[in-house]
């Protein structure tokens, strides 16, 4: 039987705010010693009260707008009750039935097909503390609690079960990740755990309307593991059905080194969270004028930027995809292009080539992030102009680029200091050609007898004489003229 895969993703992203969700502690909890970025409020001590971080609400609205959501006029917080040592108050302040944003969508492209994936809701909550499980050498296990993360603002983005393959799920996640970084609402680093994803996976016979029993998969900490986990889960479910088994509604955890999912909790133990409105926080009314202000301040979103790169700048889809992988990359590219007095599509293509070619190669080699690259965007344009103007050959330009990358110096300065400027003076090149002709009578004869490829050897000799500085185009042209004249 043929099956259809149905996947919905729930993404948790920590918000990029200065302070925590309900207290004044810094939200840069990762830099601190364990249990140092804490106060009575985020530790959930007796008698303390939460105060809403307005910036977190703003970021959630911003995210909702970027995902085409409707922003609620009235919203509120609720208590989600469950006991666990990482939950300082025994309940999490979250949002139950009145999320900040709802009914949006995200467009993805997979195998040349564009699909719109529904976004059910975006709501705001607080992160929990971190539990570290340890085992002593003699076998006794224990857990340590680091409260620094408790109370960091967290946004949950719930997607509709519209995804139909592991590929689509990964693409949705990549796009969502890019958007959050673009609009500056989250650092969204999956490895560091500030961008986390759970997947609801089910299968159903193709053409069936009814959804199959869903399994929730957790513990995936990279785009790759999300992809692999969904693939594994789909295969597991198909095999189970084919062998006459039934799929149980449960939560399964992805085990990265074994590349399998294992059962964590079945529905019998499903929690009753006993949600009720948070009495310590009055309901919030969101002013539509505020929403419009936030909308007006939204940067160009990745999809619009990609369309502009392809349609207006003539870049290929492939280059565009790579140049918009992050807001920083796209901004770097555009800053470079706009530093040119009259930016052309040719310059755009050239900048793209530098960034995706030499720069990417050197970054990979040195493990450097774009932020830490020494080359200012405008310097790439200056370098390209030296190439376009004939001062540097493309191979010389690559050498200059590497020096720029290592030192941050200007291309013009490097070219002059190293005496790298190409010889484009026809007299100087002509003199070198004359030397090459007189020193190599045999190749000259070969050429004159019709073996045109012999010219390559002579060009090489000119280069040897000028130590690589002769303008190769000019050399070939002048050489040809001289040899033709000898015919």
């Amino acid at each position: 039987m043929e099956y259809e895969v149905v996947v919905g993703l729930e993404v948790h992203a920590q918000l990029l705010t200065k302070s925590k969700m309900f207290c004044g502690c810094s939200s840069e909890y990762q830099d601190g010693e364990p249990n140092s970025v804490v106060c009575p409020v985020c530790m959930g001590m007796p008698g303390v009260l939460p105060v809403i971080n307005k910036k977190a609400v703003e970021h959630t609205i911003r995210t909702g707008l970027a995902l085409g959501c409707t922003i609620a006029r009235n919203t509120k917080f609720d208590r989600k009750n469950y006991p666990y040592p990482d939950l300082m108050k025994g309940y999490q302040i979250s949002q139950f039935d009145m999320p900040v944003a709802s009914d949006g969508c995200l467009e993805i492209q997979v195998d040349g097909q564009t699909r719109s994936i529904g976004v059910t809701r975006v709501h705001l909550e607080e992160d929990a503390a971190k539990l570290l499980h340890r085992t002593e050498d003699y076998g006794e296990g224990y857990s340590l609690l680091d409260i620094n993360r408790a109370g960091v603002p967290l946004m949950e983005i719930v997607g509709e079960p519209d995804l139909r393959s592991a590929d689509e799920a990964r693409e949705y996640l990549v796009q969502l990740h890019t958007i959050l970084q673009f609009i500056g609402t989250s650092v969204a680093n999956m490895e560091e755990g500030n961008f986390r994803c759970d997947a609801n996976v089910s299968i159903r016979p193709k053409d069936d309307e009814e959804l199959g029993t869903k399994v929730e998969v957790k513990n995936m900490n990279s785009f790759r593991s999300v992809h692999r986990a969904i693939e594994f889960e789909v295969e597991r479910q198909i095999a189970l059905l084919e062998s006459g088994g039934r799929i149980e509604q449960e939560t399964r955890g992805w085990v990265d080194d074994e590349e399998i999912t294992v059962s964590q909790r079945t529905k019998e133990y499903a929690s009753d969270y006993r949600y009720f409105p948070e009495p310590d926080l009055p309901p919030i009314t969101i002013d539509p004028l505020w929403v419009e202000e936030i909308r007006a301040s939204l940067p160009e979103l990745p999809a619009a930027r990609r369309a502009r790169f392809v349609n207006d700048l003539g870049l290929s889809e492939y280059d565009t995809e790579l140049l918009t992988i992050s807001r920083a990359t796209a901004d770097y590219f555009e800053t470079a292009l706009n530093s040119d007095t009259s930016p052309s599509n040719e310059m755009a293509k050239a900048i793209g080539n530098w960034m995706l070619g030499e720069m990417a190669r050197l970054q990979n080699q040195t493990g450097t992030l774009l932020d830490d690259v020494n080359i200012a965007p405008g310097q790439i344009v200056e370098l390209q102009k030296l190439v376009d103007g004939g001062t540097l050959s493309s191979s010389m330009a690559k050498a200059v680029f590497e020096k720029m990358y290592n030192t941050g110096a200007d291309p013009q300065a490097i070219t002059e200091a190293d005496g790298l400027a190409q010889i484009s003076d026809s007299d100087a090149v002509g003199a070198a050609i004359d030397d090459a002709i007189s020193a190599n009578p045999q190749p000259v004869r070969d050429y004159l007898e019709g073996k045109e490829s012999a010219i390559q050897f002579l060009v090489g000799q000119v280069m040897r004489i000028t130590r690589g500085k002769a303008n190769p185009q000019m050399t070939t042209e002048l050489l040809k003229n001289k040899l033709e004249a000898m015919k």
Binding site: G90, R274, F276, D280
Partner: protein
């Protein structure tokens, strides 16, 4: 030392301090002596902060000498032991927090510290403020200074007994369903619950967040006003605190009631009301009339549902508020356990008393999936109706008056086996918590030798009208000058 010092009101003590007739150190030593003399019988204190008090008294004397005294500088006070005090144990009268010393002050404690009031100790209460007799304290019950065989009311029984017996000049209590006004009434003093949101709850260990409010227990109405002046006002640390600049409430202290419209809700003479209480209330209404007030009949028909609403909402909120006591971070922790979950269960089984457990279970049930709509949601809807009924009555009246408690102080143990009988103690007070409005109880006489209280309720932020009526009544009668013989 003059023994009668401890029977002064705070404002009388203020006058003496300002004139130099007495020092804060003398007042504080008098309070501490009084505690030493009688508290083994009254049991109003969980903790006595002797050294801190003497130190604060000396600081207060310096401040008074410098001419920088605030109205409460140098006055010995007590705080209910669910109000967090930096460096001073705050137990909630629970095994769970027996060893808990907060590293922070509640906002009210901070304000009173800045004001220069002297903390002599922390007052006993029903565990986590759940109860109406202070018998639910995990440590010991408090006794009524008017009759040591009887309860002082609750849950602020320690504060009421301490103020009534001269152990402290005033105290702060918390009122979730009547926990300041009912013990105030049973101990013959003034107990006042402000409008919800007028006084910051930051640092008040939560019982039911949407109902809890801190307020003063004092020997007269002027003291109530002075203490409220010191603690009222917006606090950015409490999101439910009202953005409102409170007036100086002493301006409301007038002795006539000309033009005041006062309603008497007919539903508040409930079945089972003690005849002496009813009599005292009717006489008090006559006094108000003689002071120039227009008296009319009011009606709050949904009042009969207030108790049911309260016993859904308060336990629901408490079931979440008390979830943090798991033995992991602070407080009591049962170490003898097989697993994490076992440790959780045993910590909570042994750390909480029966009434607290009863309410956690009630609330957990009321919030459970499948029951939420029938209980919690319905209770919230009825709460709205009750609030609207008050609103419409306050279009006709400046204030409503009724008895504070249907009975005078009952005997220790008398109602411990019947939670519903115990809950009925609050039937006249808890509607004010449900509606978020202010209420005050002032002494209105004696019934069989035990104090009765007159309750005055006003609209939200209507404290001035409430104080004016309370003060005029008090000044026209002599009940507030009665003190128990101990």
């Amino acid at each position: 030392m003059d023994k009668s010092l401890v029977n002064l009101t705070a404002h009388e003590a203020r006058d003496m301090l300002d004139r130099g007739d007495v020092s804060s150190l003398e007042l504080t030593e008098a309070s501490l002596e009084r505690i030493e003399e009688i508290d083994d019988r009254v049991k109003a204190f969980v903790t006595v902060t002797r050294n801190l008090a003497l130190e604060q008294a000396r600081e207060a004397d310096v401040r008074i000498a410098e001419g920088n005294a605030a109205p409460l500088t140098g006055i010995p006070m007590q705080l209910k032991d669910n109000i967090c005090t930096h460096g001073v144990p705050t137990t909630c009268s629970s095994r769970m927090l027996e060893e808990f010393v907060p590293p922070y002050d509640a906002s009210v404690a901070e304000r009173l510290r800045q004001e220069g009031a002297v903390l002599v100790g922390k007052g006993n209460l029903d565990e986590f403020a759940m109860g109406s007799s202070t018998e639910n304290s995990a440590f010991f019950p408090t006794h009524n200074p008017w009759d040591l065989e009887r309860v002082p009311g609750g849950s602020s029984g320690g504060p009421a007994a301490a103020v009534a017996s001269g152990e402290a000049f005033f105290s702060l209590g918390s009122d979730t369903g009547g926990s300041i006004r009912q013990p105030g009434s049973l101990c013959g003093i003034v107990g006042m619950k402000p409008t919800y949101g007028l006084v910051s709850r930051y640092g008040l260990i939560a019982f039911a967040s949407s109902l809890d409010q801190i307020g003063p227990l004092t020997r007269d109405v002027r003291d109530s006003v002075i203490v409220l002046n010191a603690i009222a006002g917006h606090d950015p640390r409490d999101s439910t605190s009202i953005e409102f600049q409170p007036p100086d409430y002493t301006a409301a202290l007038k002795t006539d009631l000309k033009g005041m419209r006062i309603g008497v809700p007919k539903e508040y003479f409930v079945d089972g009301m003690e005849s002496g209480v009813e009599e005292a209330t009717r006489k008090a209404i006559d006094v108000l009339k003689s002071l120039g007030a227009e008296i009319g009949e009011a009606s709050l028909p949904h009042t009969s549902y207030a108790l049911a609403v309260y016993y859904i909402i308060a336990p629901s909120e408490c079931s979440a508020n008390l979830a943090r006591y798991d033995g992991v971070k602070y407080g009591f922790s049962e170490q003898d356990a097989d697993s994490m979950w076992d440790a959780y269960e045993k910590t909570r089984q042994r750390g909480f008393g029966p009434e607290v457990k009863r309410r956690i279970m009630l609330g957990t049930y009321a919030l459970s999936s499948g029951y939420y709509d029938a209980y919690y949601l319905k209770a919230q809807q009825v709460r709205t109706i009750i609030r609207q009924e008050f609103e419409s009555e306050f279009e006709k009246f400046d204030a409503l008056v009724m008895a504070t408690s249907p009975t005078t102080a009952f005997k220790l143990g008398e109602k411990m086996d019947d939670p519903v009988q115990m809950y009925l103690n609050d039937v006249l007070t808890l509607p004010a918590n449900i509606a978020g409005i202010p209420g005050i109880s002032v002494p209105s006489g004696l019934s069989n030798g035990l104090p009765t209280g007159l309750q005055i309720m006003a609209k939200p932020l209507g404290e001035e009208a409430m104080f004016r009526i309370a003060y005029a009544y008090e000044q026209a009668t002599d009940w507030h000058n009665m003190t128990p013989e101990l």
